[in-house]
């Protein structure tokens, strides 16, 4: 590949969907590359990332939330956090951004064939999860049971809510949603995601867990999974770090000898256990 890895390709926003509100609101952008050749040659694995450019403001590394099985448009769920994401957040259909990628190691979906997949997430953590469970649902015969355990602070913070409802109704996967505090018209589980995991008590036999979300959520979920006798090599998660180049060169995103943009962001809990603690 002789292409300059720092040069983005131009893409146009073809759809925008508001997922949640509040200060750190989430919007899902669907983009298509302007150049047809780039669009057809851009292939990616679930769990990979791309650097999105807002020219004049900078770049931001966002996980690709669509699955490669969904066609040539790419989807990014962007949480409004700072300078670049604030602009990404307010883009309208027809506006342009730069995209370069795909980066990162992605989820080893091939290795998971035949296994029970348990997706556990919270908040914006569902973005990379969605890429993986959408892929699995599309290739349904390759996998055994699929369950999605997802929670948010309030019901209006649940991302991809309609999609999750459709998945549950289709029977492709079991979907268990939760919110942190009681609400008047909520009849699902109320409590932290880790508590829901404890209640549901998934079995570790022939199972792979993929969990993404805020650090506290991941820590508490992993603890519950350990109590349920899951092995650290069977629990996958994604790490994040500040990134600038996205291609393993600027030296910023390392945790010990590992670069999150290149050797990650997907790691098993076992691999994380071997890393130093400057996370």
């Amino acid at each position: 590949m002789n292409k300059n890895p720092y040069l983005p390709d131009l893409a146009t926003v073809v759809d925008v969907r508001q997922e949640t509100g509040g200060d750190r609101s989430v919007r899902t952008l669907t983009v298509e590359f302007d150049d047809k050749e780039v669009a057809s040659s851009f292939t990616y694995k679930p769990g990979q990332l791309a650097m999105l450019s807002v020219f004049g403001k900078g770049e931001s590394m966002i996980s690709i939330t669509s699955s490669p099985t969904m066609g040539k448009a790419l989807q990014f769920s962007v949480m409004r956090m700072g300078r670049v994401t604030s602009i990404l957040h307010y883009l309208n259909k027809g506006e342009k951004i730069g995209v370069r990628g795909p980066y990162g190691n992605g989820f080893p979906v091939g290795e998971w064939k035949g296994k029970n997949l348990i997706f556990i997430g919270g908040g914006i953590g569902s973005a990379p999860l969605r890429s993986a469970y959408s892929y699995a649902l599309h290739n349904r015969k390759d996998y055994a049971d699929i369950s999605i355990i997802y929670g948010a602070r309030t019901s209006s913070d649940i991302v991809f809510r309609d999609e999750l409802r459709a998945i549950a109704e289709s029977g492709g996967a079991k979907v268990e949603l939760s919110i942190d505090k009681p609400e008047s018209d909520w009849d699902g589980f109320v409590g932290f995601v880790a508590m829901n995991v404890k209640r549901l008590a998934p079995k570790p036999d022939n199972a792979i867990v993929i969990t993404c979300g805020p650090v506290m959520l991941i820590k508490t979920v992993i603890k519950e999974l350990m109590d349920l006798h899951f092995k650290p090599s069977e629990i996958y998660t994604t790490l994040e770090n500040k990134m600038k180049c996205g291609v393993g060169k600027c030296g910023r995103c390392n945790i010990g000898p590992v670069l999150v943009c290149k050797n990650g962001p997907v790691f098993t809990v076992e691999q994380i256990g071997q890393l130093p603690s400057d996370l």
Partner: protein, 349 residues
């Protein structure tokens, strides 16, 4: 010669640590060779043997007080004062920190020392070459004050070094060997106070034409690598968020997106003549009435930019325009915090 006996100094520090009156004592330890030293943090009486006081004690320890504010040396609930060794030039830095309300007088326990001058490593390097001083003496010798100069004490004898060729330029222009504020003074008080004259280089530069000055400073700015060492070592630069550093955005877990998105960036990350000049000149202006000419910025600069000229000029202006001396008294109001009726205004009207 100094009237401070290093052993007496060590005993005083030991006594302070044994009495548990202070949480940490900031002093100096021998550095990577005879001419260098570095800050030493003493917490127990048996570590005090590493404390030195010699012409190698060049680093100004006041900076470590500012570092402690941001990166605590000790546990946050330890409210005891910090002990610190101060020389005649350093006390002004502590006074400025008190004036800026960053520390209170009772938060530092000052042990004053009589300092006749410390070495400048850049000058030492030249002298080492010219005098062909052996590697063994460079590494294993120890500096002592001798008469009005310095010597390297070695097993085979003493090697005298000419004062002008080795001391920091500020030391050649010393206002007084001992600090005016202290809790304990090891040695004799230096009662003469010679107000520092701006060096002739400043006056000479002022006399040049604007084009000549522009050429001079543009060359300086083009060599700056924006390491920010001059700011990081400075005794008056203690802002949590530096206006001229685009990377010091103070954000917390609860900062809102709009706040982070809309912060103005006064200068970019590129290191070009104009952005470097913007940084250096702005920082100098922020030092008006606060710069004590400790010249640590000059010493820290890895490209050896003549930052002394900037800080001496800023100090000269504060004196000539406003009759203001930085670091004179904790009772003074900070210069730029108020306007007075008799402030010069000929450049306004």
């Amino acid at each position: 010669m100094t009237t401070t006996d290093p052993n007496e100094l060590r005993n005083a520090i030991r006594a302070l640590l044994e009495s548990k009156k202070i949480r940490t004592f900031i002093g100096w330890e021998q550095g990577s060779n005879a001419f260098r030293s570095r800050p030493l943090f003493l917490r127990s009486p048996d570590e005090v043997g590493n404390e030195i006081f010699s012409p190698a004690c060049t680093p100004c320890l006041v900076r470590m007080i500012i570092e402690d504010l941001r990166y605590p040396l000790d546990k946050p609930d330890d409210k005891r004062p910090l002990g610190i060794a101060l020389r005649g030039c350093d006390d002004k830095g502590v006074i400025e920190l008190i004036k800026d309300r960053r520390i209170k007088r009772e938060e530092v326990m000052i042990v004053g020392v009589d300092c006749p001058g410390t070495v400048d490593w850049t000058k030492a390097k030249k002298l080492i070459k010219d005098r062909k001083i052996s590697t063994d003496d460079i590494v294993n010798g120890r500096l002592i004050w001798k008469d009005r100069g310095i010597a390297i004490a070695t097993p085979s004898g003493e090697i005298s070094l000419e004062r002008e060729k080795i001391l920091m330029s500020k030391c050649l222009d010393c206002e007084g060997h001992t600090p005016r504020i202290y809790d304990v003074l090891i040695g004799k008080e230096d009662t003469k106070r010679i107000p520092a004259e701006p060096p002739k280089e400043v006056r000479e530069l002022e006399a040049r034409s604007p084009d000549e000055k522009y050429e001079f400073w543009d060359d300086v700015f083009s060599r700056c690598i924006r390491c920010y060492a001059c700011r990081n070592i400075c005794t008056y630069c203690h802002c949590e968020e530096c206006a001229v550093d685009p990377t010091t955005l103070a954000i917390a877990a609860d900062s809102i997106a709009a706040d982070k998105a809309n912060r103005p960036e006064w200068v970019g990350r590129d290191s070009t003549d104009s952005s470097n000049g913007f940084y250096l000149i702005t920082r100098a202006y922020h030092g008006t009435g606060r710069c004590i000419s400790c010249e640590e910025c000059d010493r820290a600069c890895p490209m050896r930019l003549p930052l002394r000229l900037l800080n001496r000029k800023v100090r000269k202006d504060a004196k000539e325009l406003f009759d203001y001396d930085a670091g004179k008294s904790v009772e003074d109001k900070p210069l730029l915090s108020e306007t007075c009726d008799n402030d010069p205004g000929d450049f306004i009207w």
